[in-house]
Symmetry: D2
Subunit: 144 residues, 4 copies
């Protein structure tokens, strides 16, 4: 019960940060999960986010991966973090109703965390992997 309250608070805090990001609001991103070591970000596949073939633009997929990585890094390192670097492999065009980016922390150091993120396209509640990413999240002011 107490843990549930803490998780609700953490999610609420995470959502306030997202609301404070004009670009995330422009895209329509929503933080749907946020706990110590995991973060889940949802982005609707709407027309203005597509590329010329009708799929979600790769830039939106990488935004979702990047931002979910920053969130999960912040969940283990504390607030005030940035994605220092990441790598993404696109494996399928993203189409359907929305994408979900699910990030987890793989290793947590004092000022950096190494995290992974899978991005799934969801259509009629069926998920298919569209990209996978790995990167480093760093506390602001600590290492650059």
């Amino acid at each position: 019960m107490k843990d549930k309250l803490l998780m609700d608070e953490m999610l609420e805090m995470g959502r306030q940060v997202l609301t404070a990001q004009p670009f995330s609001m422009l895209i329509g991103a929503e933080l749907i999960g946020f706990a110590v070591g995991s973060a889940e970000l949802k982005v609707p596949i709407k027309n203005e986010l597509k590329q010329q073939h009708g799929f979600l633009h790769g830039g939106v997929v990488s935004y979702a991966a990047d931002n979910a990585l920053t969130y999960v890094g912040g969940s283990v390192l504390g607030p005030g973090v940035v994605t220092s670097e990441f790598k993404i492999n696109y494996v399928r065009p993203a189409m359907g109703d929305y994408i979900v980016a699910r990030a987890t922390a793989i290793y947590v150091g004092k000022t950096q965390a190494v995290c992974r993120c899978d991005v799934f396209a969801v259509k009629d509640a069926k998920e298919s992997l569209c990209a996978t990413a790995q990167g480093t999240i760093t506390k602001i002011g600590s290492s650059q």
Copy 2:
């Protein structure tokens, strides 16, 4: 003179593709250079593209790198390409008037090209590197 015409045509074609990408239009991206082996993409640093600290959102920087990489890959492989994977290091917060992503082809194979992209933030005509990327661009239908 003939080369100049070809370059103008190529840039014009590239711009038509960008215009056909709703997400690029939403962001306000502009293709300002496009020749065999090089591509240059410009994105204005406007409020709705920022994150919570007033800098350009990292997702916009990675969009610019990713899209410039796709363009330069298309310039050497022909139309109908996608970015298969890329890696980006963010080195400075992006602030100022606009960013410019400059991509070049490092290696060109039959169906894949390995390309690099530097992203600069520009303020009062002074450029500073804000990110650098490296990735693989692949002809659609050829390898996945």
Copy 3:
């Protein structure tokens, strides 16, 4: 029972390939697991593989990740594959008795697979993560 025989055969075939790699023999690598979608490579932490501070050289860790990635790619794409690209994050110095690189396939296409690999240092049977990698494995002749 039949599956067990197939797995034994597959592991045997994989080991023959490793034996045919002079560099893997120089390093003392051993294939200890090989099935469809997974591969496990072991490298002893011996003196001639170290760097100046007494840890296993990062080059050996990346060799193990790279080679395990190639193996797992071959397990899903068939023989005749190469690692086209990979990214590795080193998270702890590798020390102890040996390292184990465990790779899995995340996505399998016609000619490429996207795979991941965690590398663990093992001391007195206790494992600690020392690196994590992600990369693309490609059928030879298909895409470059």
Copy 4:
């Protein structure tokens, strides 16, 4: 003249570090250039470093890239650095007499540097690119 002396001293110091790395000695690596912001490492293509098709093993190519990246990072950050992460694209099988890994610093912060490295295979003094890498070099103790 003074600069020449400093460069000679720097190269000499770099070579002593390499000599102190048993794995680099096993491979036969040689530091052939080392100055502030650049490093050049040479590895002979000898039989025991090959894979099963007679090419230099990818693990040797990535070792060379990784180590050249660490050197160039040390040249700008000072001694006591490690490669935190890097990404490599292999573009051609490495064959010939030797490889040369040439690394440069792209961005230098307080405790981290972002660097690039091109690896060339050399045969009869003719060079061809076989891999290209990008990564982060970090001062030991500063960020993990």
